[in-house]
């Protein structure tokens, strides 16, 4: 139809839809006008008043008939029919409210919970990169010396890459690090110390990304060269911690002992230059970064920078890669001793999320998530299908009756289809509500990544489409089957045993049974996932980290913000340590520079008598280390296996000593007792360090999987490092101790800024937040799957029982015992549940085997989880089946037979 058509017909159609009363009135008026005029004409022609009126009416064939025909012409007949059908359907659904609310609930939860969980993880893992013209951006990585995989760039390496002006228009470098700063104490700001993520980067950083500061300016190349104390605030930090006050540009913040001038606020769209899933608090010149190792800016060995380059126009990635290959060859020749010599990799920025290494771990995570979400959706759909099938067969008698009374097949199908569509629509609406609210609830969790409360509409649309199709499809299936049934047969058999009712008792392999078994198996898999994540979380508590996390109170304070120099800071902390030791209930106290789990140093060491792999003799082995102080192992209760811990002997000026963990001792020495062995630092002064003790393995709370990482402990006191925390173990309530310690600090040194005062468990809970959330999501989805499967079982059993009411009645009248009758029904359900559990465990065992095969570390085969999950499912299934069965055996035989 042409558009011009619509100009004339659209208003009419709208009026027909919404202004029905008006249209009816006008129709009346039109016909009345006709009658009156015709009557007048007839009178004029000489008829009497009455005669004239009658003749006019006759000519019009009465008033009702043309009206009715006009209504037909307007297409109201169809509308009327649909309205009547709709009303009827709604009445029927309201009458069967258990079925309707069940179906709506299944759809809503299946659609909503899935969408919420997926949206959340999706926004956390796969945020779009906020850069302008991202296609022209590449990440350039020097490959690491050991594995030859893309790693990062050294600062001199970055300068060399940036000079390749034939392929790159410009290149910037950045590195992120956690840090702390003190807000100015002016106006509404209280001068407290904040921790956040610092991005050390270059002056051209925003130019390369194609972004602009939202306020003030970025630092200049000159400021970058000398490491000028200037900082650009992250937009989110400015809004949240500085109340979006534009006068910050005239203020200074404090980082450690340094006053730093705020010169700008970062772009609004840039949460972070890497992955965009965290909020960067401060952008600082790369040269202002506290060096991780001496001479970091000159070293070619350390690949610590992420280099992003803007390609020249008409230069492709291949061309850039070719240029980098040439450069890599030059560097390897020019810097024989220091270059990693493994080449340079160019990757499109849009292809890298965080880092190639991290990305490769995220992908399986995302795949798992999609699998879980798909599984829940599949369970929800198959559940809905079961409900609809059961309902369909329950209605076979009704359908037969209506067919016999003359309803057409089309009419019946229309009714059933309308029912499915109403259910699907309401279910989808509930799903949207669940998704929005669920997501709002999930975002209340305190997570270290940026999450948005935005529902992922693609997933929502997909879930609704799948659930809707499933609803309509399985709604129609029984309709088509039933309308094809032999009328007389179905009627004669009566209410008791229409075609569908037989499926549970006589035919085993039916669609319905397959769906039930599938649901049980699916929820088994989901619960296995939930069980595993719970076990992992539990294992990180207390016993699992290698030390006792309960009973510990800690206070973190940065003495630099109080203006203390290192010797004064050490004296202050020593005094505090003694005071805290005298507090009631305190068993031991330590002063430390870093909290357990907050990382340490990474140095290359040469171990005396250890040859290792070829090529590492001169370079040394890279080993993780921690700075600890006297009392560290005692306070945390890390077992000392051999030798001693640090004590008062180990002070500055005495020969340096070290302690290693069991994993290091086992890996690099023949026996776990490494006391007396020696090593040198590859970049040190050549003096040997003696190992004086071996302690038990520990791991960071958030590092779930590397239990046996070799660790080297050095004494922070011997190295003269500034302490920043006090940790005490108490035999009493640690929360009380935290308060007492805080009071002590405030009394003795009111100028000392306390950054954190909490129990160790509380501190670690923060690190565990992502795992907690993951576990919550998994258990939530697992519980959902179980609930859905239980609903499915319940409905099938309830249906089977209701279909066999008269049979049960007869049997009881003939003297069958209740328990026998119960068994009659339960037998079939049990078989279905067992089949589901068997299939589920076979799949999950195969999955576990696959994980082992692909060397994904898991907590070994876990029979407890498997058996536990099987029991939970069997229990729920039995309960779901028991309710209707109980009702069945309480039937009064007489009334049952009469039915």
């Amino acid at each position: 139809m042409r558009w011009e058509h619509w100009i004339y017909t659209l208003p009419l159609r709208l009026r027909l839809l919404f202004g029905r009363a008006v249209v009816e009135r006008e129709l009346d008026e039109e016909l009345r006008y006709h009658l009156d005029r015709q009557t007048e004409t007839n009178i004029a022609a000489g008829m009497s008043q009455q005669e004239a009126r009658r003749a006019a009416l006759r000519a019009l064939d009465g008033i009702t008939r043309p009206k009715e025909e006009c209504r037909d012409a307007l297409g109201w007949r169809l509308l009327d029919t649909l309205m009547r059908d709709g009303k009827q359907t709604l009445r029927r659904l309201a009458h069967d409210w258990q079925f309707s609310s069940g179906a709506v609930l299944i759809l809503g939860l299946g659609i909503g919970a899935n969408t919420a969980v997926f949206s959340l993880v999706n926004t956390a893992l796969f945020r779009p990169q906020p850069f302008a013209d991202v296609d022209g951006l590449v990440n350039v990585y020097q490959n690491d010396a050991k594995l030859g995989l893309p790693e990062g760039s050294s600062y001199p390496g970055f300068l060399d890459i940036r000079r390749q002006s034939d392929v790159f228009a410009d290149a910037s470098a950045l590195v992120t690090q956690e840090g702390r700063y003190q807000r100015p104490a002016t106006g509404s700001l209280n001068g407290s110390v904040q921790s956040g993520i610092f991005e050390y980067t270059t002056a051209n950083h925003l130019d390369v990304l194609g972004l602009r500061p939202s306020l003030g300016r970025w630092f200049t190349a000159d400021e970058e060269r000398v490491g000028e104390p200037v900082a650009v605030l992250g937009r989110e930090t400015w809004v949240r911690d500085f109340h979006a006050d534009p006068s910050v540009l005239s203020q200074t913040i404090r980082i450690g002992a340094k006053q730093v001038q705020v010169i700008g606020v970062g772009p609004a769209e840039l949460n972070s230059s890497q992955g965009n899933a965290t909020f960067t608090a401060l952008f600082l010149p790369v040269t202002a970064m506290p060096p991780q190792s001496p001479g970091q800016l000159e070293r070619r060995q350390d690949l610590w920078l992420l280099v992003r380059a803007r390609l020249r126009e008409n230069v492709g990635i291949q061309q850039a890669q070719a240029a980098m290959d040439v450069l890599a060859g030059q560097l390897a020749a020019d810097y024989r001793d220091t270059d990693p010599k493994k080449g340079i990799t160019v990757l499109a920025t849009s292809q890298v999320r965080y880092h190639p290494r991290v990305d490769s771990q995220i992908k399986p995570l995302a795949a798992t998530l999609l699998l879980v979400v798909g599984l829940v959706l599949a369970i929800a759909c198959s559940n809905l299908a079961t409900l609809l099938l059961v309902r369909g067969s329950a209605r076979s008698a009704e359908v037969s009756l209506r067919l016999a009374l003359g309803a057409t097949r089309g009419q019946l199908v229309r009714h059933l289809l309308m029912e499915s569509m109403i259910l699907s629509t309401v279910g989808a609406v509930v799903g949207v509500l669940v998704a929005v609210w669920g997501l709002r609830y999930l975002t209340t969790f305190n997570l270290p990544v940026v999450i948005s409360g935005d529902v992922d509409y693609r997933v929502l649309a997909f879930a609704i489409a799948v659930a809707g199709m499933c609803g309509v499809g399985f709604g129609l299936w029984p309709a088509l089957q039933l309308t094809g049934t032999n009328l007389m047969g179905a009627l004669r058999e009566g209410k008791g045993s229409a075609a569908g009712a037989l499926s549970l008792s006589r035919k085993w392999f039916t669609l319905k049974n397959a769906l039930i078994v599938g649901q049980v198996a699916g929820s088994f898999l989901l619960l296995m996932g939930a069980g595993f994540s719970m076990r992992i979380l539990a294992s990180t508590q207390s016993r699992g980290v290698g030390y006792v996390t309960t009973g510990l109170a800690m206070i973190e304070a940065d003495p630099r913000y109080a203006g203390y120099d290192p010797p004064r800071a050490q004296a202050v902390f020593e005094e505090l340590r003694r005071r805290v030791a005298e507090l009631p209930g305190v068993e031991s106290v330590m002063v430390t520079t870093r909290l357990p789990g907050d990382g340490g140093f990474d140095r290359k060491v040469l171990i005396e008598g250890y040859r290792g792999e070829a090529g590492t003799e001169k370079e040394g082995i890279s080993i993780e280390g921690r700075w600890v102080s006297p009392g560290y192992f005692e306070t945390l209760k890390i077992p000392v296996l051999y030798g001693r811990t640090f004590d008062d002997r180990d002070v500055a000026g005495r020969p340096e000593v070290a302690i290693v963990n069991e994993a290091l001792a086992r890996q690099y020495f023949e026996s776990p007792n490494a006391v007396g062995r020696r090593f040198r630092f590859a970049d040190g002064d050549g003096r040997f360090v003696e190992i004086v003790g071996v302690v038990g393995n520990t791991r960071d709370v958030d590092m779930i999987l590397d239990w046996s990482q070799p660790l080297l402990y050095r004494s922070s006191r011997q190295a003269g490092l500034t302490p920043s925390a006090i940790i005490a173990r108490t035999s009493r309530n640690e929360t009380t101790l935290v308060t007492l310690m805080q009071q002590e600090v405030r009394r003795l040194h009111p100028d000392l800024t306390v950054i954190k005062a909490e129990t160790m468990e509380h501190h670690q809970a923060g690190d565990l937040a992502p795992f907690r959330m993951g576990m919550l999501a998994m258990s939530g989805l697992g519980a959902l799957g179980l609930a859905l499967a239980a609903i499915g079982l319940y409905s099938v059993v309830a249906f089977a029982v209701s279909q066999r009411t008269s049979e049960i009645g007869i049997r009881m009248a003939l003297g069958a015992r209740a328990s026998d009758l119960a068994w009659l029904v339960v037998r079939e359900v049990t078989a279905l549940i067992v089949a589901g559990i068997v299939i589920g465990s076979v799949i999950s065992l195969a999955g576990l085997a696959a994980l082992v095969y692909f060397r994904v570390p898991i907590l070994g085969n876990d029979p407890v989880t498997v058996v536990g999950v099987a029991l939970v499912i069997a229990g729920f299934g039995a309960f779901a089946a028991y309710l209707p069965v109980r009702r069945a055996v309480r039937i009064d035989p007489l009334s049952a037979i009469r039915q």
Binding site: E4, T9, L12, H34, Q38, A73
Partner: protein, 111 residues
């Protein structure tokens, strides 16, 4: 039954459109005019006129508005739309061809 003869039923739309092409009219006047011009040959009952009008309105060939009639009462006046006029031209032309062909056949002299 007030059904017009088969021929008329197929051409009622054409007749209505043609009448409306002359000037906008209300339903009663259309009926009067039909009888006048066809000299009572075409028996169009008033009862079948209105459904036809409503169908034409639905199709967008004609459009309606309420106006005062000659005796100053409110009446529904139908008028031809532009697509309606095009439709009329097309139908009139094909009707012309059809009636020519039929009369040619009818006039064939028996051999």
């Amino acid at each position: 039954m007030s059904k017009p003869s088969d021929l008329v039923q197929g051409t009622l739309n054409l007749l209505i459109l043609k009448i409306l092409a002359l000037e906008p009219q209300n339903g009663w006047a259309i009926g009067q005019r039909l009888r006048q011009v066809s000299g009572d040959v075409l028996q169009v009952s008033d009862g079948s006129l209105y459904p036809a009008l409503h169908k034409l309105e639905q199709a967008g060939w004609i459009t309606a508005e309420w106006k005062a009639s000659e005796n100053n009462r409110r009446a529904k006046f139908y008028s031809l739309t532009r697509p309606g006029r095009r439709y009329l031209e097309k139908e009139a032309a094909s009707w012309g061809r059809l009636s020519q062909a039929i009369s040619a056949v009818v006039r064939l002299e028996e051999a």
